[in-house]
């Protein structure tokens, strides 16, 4: 049954996924920054995303704003529950966002802003991963309010998902550099991609094993008959994409590693959806309970169906304008 609320659940999920796709590699570059200490390399790395980072982060605003609009109750419960990770993420994004411009505006303090870029990216990513884990492990709700404490989010599981996301974004960043750079820088990105891919597979494995222990619902969702017919293809597809990714890295392909890593993200994300659906706050609030009235959802649906294709169009154009390898000294000109 496809109703308005289900459509909106998919739209919000889509916005969050586009955010992960677009800002993931962008944050990953920040995470990798300390591994590229040379100024020339750092300039190139920055220049590969400088023209597009702002658009990438706009999807985060759409995810948040859209959730407040379409599922206000979920937004109102989740944000206080994830208070500390959210604030940490926002502050991290402040540091890394301003670093894009600030580091060109000073000679003396450039290293300071490079550190802000790296640290801000790391903190923001860790916070997003922790928030994800905190949502999955369940949130204490009473009535229409969050009823837990302000440290409930911190558990071994949420730390695991935090680290997993850091590894994942770093892999996206490394494969992005493989695609966008040349020479020695690209070679280093290749080596990093191998290490990070192994780490990412371990992380996917660890989170997949830990999740069913969080709640019996997750176990049933994944392993009970007949669900398993529908869920089994996900791990099989992960194995297939991994094989392709290993081959692409082995043959030093330019574009495939990045897009196949996105494939891994898409599959992990689908797995997440399988675990959560139809809850938006696991085990306590379903998408229908959290949904805004139909007239709010319809009003926005009109805008979304016209504007999102348009946005994807001109975003693609911006990427097209700045396509190709970024060379040292040439910047994005």
């Amino acid at each position: 049954m496809i109703d308005l609320t289900t459509i909106w659940a998919f739209i919000i999920a889509f916005a969050v996924f586009v955010y992960v796709v677009m800002d993931g590699f962008d944050l990953g570059l920040g995470i990798l920054f300390p591994l590229f200490p040379q100024k020339a390399d750092r300039d190139v790395i920055m220049n590969t995303v400088a023209p597009v980072w702002d658009g990438n982060e706009t999807w985060l605003v759409l995810g948040g704003g859209g959730m407040m609009a379409a599922f206000p109750l979920a937004y109102a419960v989740l944000m206080p529950a994830l208070y500390t990770p959210m604030i940490a993420m926002l502050l991290g994004l402040v540091f890394r966002g301003v670093a894009f411009e600030f580091r060109w505006r000073t000679q003396k303090a450039r290293n300071k802003w490079d550190l802000a870029f790296a640290g801000g990216s790391l903190v923001a990513t860790l916070a997003q991963g922790i928030a994800l884990g905190a949502i999955l492990q369940g949130i204490h709700v009473e009535g229409r309010h969050y009823a837990g404490g302000w440290w409930d989010w911190l558990t071994p599981f949420s730390v695991l998902t935090g680290i997993a996301l850091v590894i994942g974004y770093a892999l996206l960043g490394a494969t992005w550099l493989v695609m966008k750079t040349e020479g020695e820088l690209r070679e280093r990105a290749y080596q990093l991609s191998w290490i990070l891919l192994v780490a990412m597979l371990c992380a996917i494995g660890a989170v997949s094993i830990a999740t069913p222990f969080l709640a019996v619902q997750y176990t049933q969702r994944w392993f009970a008959w007949p669900n398993i017919i529908l869920t089994a293809p996900v791990p099989i597809a992960v194995a297939a994409v991994t094989a392709l990714l290993l081959r692409a890295l082995g043959s030093k392909n330019d574009h495939q590693p990045f897009f196949l890593t996105l494939g891994l993200f898409a599959l992990s994300y689908a797995g997440l959806g399988i675990s959560m659906y139809p809850y938006i706050v696991p085990q306590s609030i379903t998408i229908w309970q959290a949904a805004a009235p139909a007239n709010s959802q319809i009003f926005m649906l009109v805008g979304v169906s016209i504007l999102v294709p348009l946005i994807l169009g001109y975003t693609a154009w911006a990427y097209w304008v700045f396509r190709g390898k970024v060379r040292p000294g040439h910047g994005y000109h």
Partner: protein, 468 residues
């Protein structure tokens, strides 16, 4: 730490602090984006090099300011959930879609074309590049449209109903969006953004004219900025007056606080110029007042009766001293800006626009006046609407998240430390860019990458040549 503090007060302090930092940047970038579009259009039409030089000069400043606006804006969009979750739950169905439309119609437009605007002139050519600049400028205006509509709905809510869960829901979207105070607030704020920018541009032009009266770039920007101040300041004062009359109709208690009218006046209320409002004793101490003038301004009649706060239950009073004083700061600066515009008009008429150091010093001094006026205006309208978040319907105390004071207090401290560190650095970088005079062959953003300066220096110059 923060045990025994009121979490709602801390959450309000956090909103006020982060909002005050944020609003400065959009106010500047709305005006600057339009100014950049005008400069580029003038360059495309006249082919005069001075315009593309000025464009590149201000583009660098725009890039820094815009980045700060973006990151401080992301904070705002999540703060409704973190600190004001009850508000988010109750008003989400009405406010949420408006903010979603802001993202879809404005933020993406700005962000999507910003990269091309900043770095793409040599990649896409002048015409497409101008389109990108125009899109960014239009995006900033669309953003103002939606966010001011949402804010205005909170000030003068119409077109809504309340559902079984106690949520506000839209009964008529057109009435929600075009609520009674929205057109006035939109005009007032957009004009304020334009004036703010013109004062900054004017101050930078004046600063360089004080050093070199013949500097072409400084002359052009100073002249353009002074035309803006001359023409728009009087319009803004008129728009502000209309906005005030609209507020009197829909939020009378706010106007009472702005005027310091604790008592009702049956035949003609005085205009209190200055004084010290005492909320507890419900009177303005040391008041200097002009008899009956307030009635003349607000009711267009000397003897018109005006109600005071004594007609409003005390628990619904806004904080009078803040509202009273921030209003006076805004109005005072408004008249000073108009004074600057008239002074420049006089000197222009005499042919001494570029040769009057006194005018230039005045303009430099007035550089930050727009920002202060915008902040004062916002403080007036936001504290004047207290103690409600949705005027008359939802109290601020019923809007907050169920958080303990230590959580809100710690995040407040974190924001204060980070914002001061980051944004003061940003302002210093902007001031440093402004301290450089605009010169021929001016480069766009990120040109101080040494490697590029060696390799591609003639990029903008080549584009200029190519267009000729």
């Amino acid at each position: 730490m923060f045990e025994g503090w009121d979490a709602v007060v801390l959450a309000r302090a956090q909103f006020a602090f982060t909002m005050s930092f944020h609003i400065v940047f959009p106010a500047f970038s709305i005006g600057l984006a339009s100014y950049l579009a005008v400069l580029e259009a003038l360059w495309l039409i006249t082919k005069r090099e001075v315009y593309i030089n000025l464009f590149n000069y201000w583009l660098k400043i725009f890039a820094v300011a815009f980045g700060m606006g973006v990151v401080s804006g992301i904070v705002m969009s999540y703060q409704f959930g973190t600190n004001w979750s009850s508000f988010a739950d109750k008003t989400g169905p009405v406010i949420g879609p408006m903010m979603a439309y802001e993202v879809l119609t404005a933020f993406f437009l700005e962000a999507g074309f910003l990269g091309v605007m900043l770095f793409g002139l040599s990649r896409v050519g002048p015409r497409l590049h101008f389109l990108a600049t125009l899109m960014v400028a239009i995006g900033t205006l669309i953003s103002a449209f939606w966010i001011l509509s949402a804010n205005s709905w909170m000030q003068t809510p119409t077109g809504h109903a309340v559902n079984a869960d106690g949520q506000f829901v839209a009964a008529d979207w057109l009435k929600v969006i075009f609520n009674p105070s929205f057109p006035y607030r939109l005009v007032h704020m957009v004009l304020a953004a334009y004036l703010t920018t013109s004062l900054v541009v004017g101050a930078v032009g004046a600063w360089h004219l004080l050093r070199d009266q013949h500097l072409a770039g400084a002359r052009v920007m100073f002249s353009m900025a002074m035309w803006m101040a001359t023409l728009v300041a009087p319009i803004q004062i008129l728009a502000g007056d209309q906005h005030g009359l609209n507020t009197l109709e829909h939020q009378p208690a706010k106007v009472m606080a702005m005027e310091g009218h604790f008592q009702s006046h049956k035949d003609g209320a005085p205009l209190i110029l200055f004084g010290w409002p005492d909320q507890k004793d419900a009177k303005v101490k040391y008041a200097i007042e002009v008899p009956k003038l307030s009635s003349l301004i607000l009711k267009h009649s000397l003897d018109a009766p005006l109600a005071g706060l004594d007609t409003v239950p005390r628990e619904n009073w806004p904080p009078v001293p803040i509202t009273f004083w921030s209003f006076r700061i805004m109005v005072g600066l408004g008249f000073l800006i108009m004074g600057l515009g008239l002074f420049s008009l006089l000197m222009r008429w005499r042919g001494l626009l570029y040769q009057t150091p006194l005018l230039h010093r005045f303009a430099v001094l007035m550089g930050p006046a727009g920002f202060i006026a915008v902040l004062a205006g916002w403080i007036t309208t936001e504290t004047g609407r207290q103690p409600f978040t949705v005027y008359g319907l939802l109290r601020t105390t019923d809007s907050a998240s169920p958080l303990a004071a230590p959580a809100v207090g710690s995040s407040l401290i974190a924001f204060i430390i980070v914002y001061f560190a980051v944004f003061i650095a940003g302002v210093i970088y902007i001031l440093r860019l402004m301290a450089q005079p605009p010169h021929p062959g001016e480069q766009g953003p990120a040109t101080n990458i040494p490697a590029r300066a060696a390799g591609i220096t003639p990029a903008a110059g080549a584009a200029v040549e190519g267009a000729r």
